[in-house]
Amino acid sequence: MGSFATLKRICSERDGRLGLVFTLVILIFAIVGPLVSPDPNLIDVKARFAPPGAAHLLGTDNLGRDLVARTSAGTRYALALAAMIVVISSVVGSLIGVVAAVAGPRIDRVITGVFDIVNAFPPLILAFALIALYGKGPITFVLLVTVVFIPQFGRMARARAQSLRSLSFIEAERMLAVHPATIVARHYLPNVAGPIIVLASMNLPVVIAFEASLSFLGFGVQPPKSSLGTLIKDGFVSINQSWWPIIAASLVLAIATLGATLLGEALRRVIDPKTTGAR
């Protein structure tokens, strides 16, 4: 199916349209934000806790920094991280998953064992442990969240590859003595891609929220850089003085996750109609 046809079918239902609109709004906000607002780190003590107005569309925070600029920067940061994490973990995950399904029972047992170990920890706890070990910073963050998400993609790819294994076209390739690496690359991977793309799009909001939670707890982005999590936390601390800051960042987080979720669901209904209803 062409990408245009996919888009058309997503737009044909209400949830898909809503998801697309929300996602576009967030993207535009992330891109256009810095053009219409001052430097996100520009401190203006005189304008502390300014309410929304002509000068500051979303008001300012406890140091008088413009909230449009800060929220937009946070959104950009969250989106970039999420995209990077989802792309890396889906590619690596599907490769490992397919290998597990194809390479024989011994390797399969090792790989699924590792998946089980990673999954046995609640993601946040695992994140704390890894951050304690390797320190804070965006690269550690990307690596660790990627590791946390790989098993999900790996499991799905493994399950799909296992059901492909007994299909005639894979057996025909084997009977032709085509090299196993070629079979994996050319015949397994393209055929597990559909559900993986869907899972990736559904994980996008999860990663955005995960990043926000870690930053909220102080393990993510470090000041003065802004992230949706730190913005909510700062807003939360100063909620007695002003309730603007927390609203702006929360709203962006809500729209971003809701939009990406709706879009992911719609994408799943289009690409993978068979699994509708089951996660």
Partner: protein, 251 residues
């Protein structure tokens, strides 16, 4: 002359069910051999064992005198001798690869210059009545009949001496099934191949095969040359199969 395929004392169980029960048979080179049976008779399992897709609990399979091994080197050797034509040939073409890519894989496997492979392919396509333009298409863009021929063309490109066709007429209308059967017969004669046909269609096997085996519940209940087997079946089950076959009665 050495047998194309010989199986001795093949046994296989899946849990409680016995899939193959002491099956022995020999398929002479250059002949057409039928494996007949109803669903669950073990005929497909037998085929998979011959192809090396299913390991046996006991017993041996020899292809042209070589014992079947699962090593990669043996698989590469076997692929040049033995090729399957699967039941649903459209499903035996990888859905996200162009047919040209699929054919190109043969060149890699045979370690042959691509130009040489394509030259041979041109001859094969011509014989199967397939247009050259089909190479640029994806499997879902061609008709079922064409997909069938493409799958056969790809098997032939390997220059095998044994072809194994699994239920070649399944799902085909009577008015078109003959086309495929005639084609398989022609190929066999022209290339002097061994053809193994797995089928539940007794009438087809009777006409196409010289020798056949009747399978039931994992056992080879009767085997021998087709003419005498169908004329005077020795086994009670073979007789039952033959009498149950609907006849075109003209009074």
């Amino acid at each position: 002359m050495m047998d194309a395929i010989s199986i001795s004392k093949a046994r296989l169980r899946f849990g409680q069910t016995i899939a193959l029960d002491d099956v022995s048979l020999a398929i002479p080179q250059g002949t057409c051999f039928g494996i007949v049976g109803e669903s669950g008779s073990g005929k497909t399992t037998l085929m998979r064992a011959i192809l090396g897709l299913q390991k046996l609990d006991q017993g041996d399979v020899c292809i042209l005198g070589m014992p079947l091994s699962h090593s990669r080197a043996a698989l590469k050797k076997r692929a040049r001798v033995l090729q399957p034509i699967f039941q649903d040939p459209a499903a035996s073409l990888s859905p996200r690869s162009r047919i040209r890519t699929l054919m190109g894989e043969v060149a890699t496997v045979l370690n042959e210059p691509l130009a040489v492979t394509y030259e041979r392919l041109g001859v094969i396509l011509n014989r199967l009545g397939l247009p050259k333009g089909i190479l640029d298409k994806y499997p879902h863009e061609i008709s079922g009949g064409q997909a069938r021929r493409v799958a056969i063309a790809r098997a032939l490109l390997m220059k095998p001496s044994i072809l194994i066709a699994d239920e070649p007429t399944a799902g085909l209308d009577v008015s078109v099934q003959g086309d495929l059967l005639n084609l398989l017969q022609d190929i066999r004669q022209l290339e002097n191949m061994t053809l193994v046909v797995i089928s539940h269609n007794l009438a087809v096997v009777r006409l196409i095969a010289e020798n056949a085996v009747v399978m039931r519940a994992g056992k080879a209940v009767e085997s021998g040359d087709v003419a005498s087997m169908f004329q005077s079946p020795r086994d009670a089950y073979t007789r039952e199969l033959l009498s149950a076959w609907p006849r075109l009665r003209v009074e």
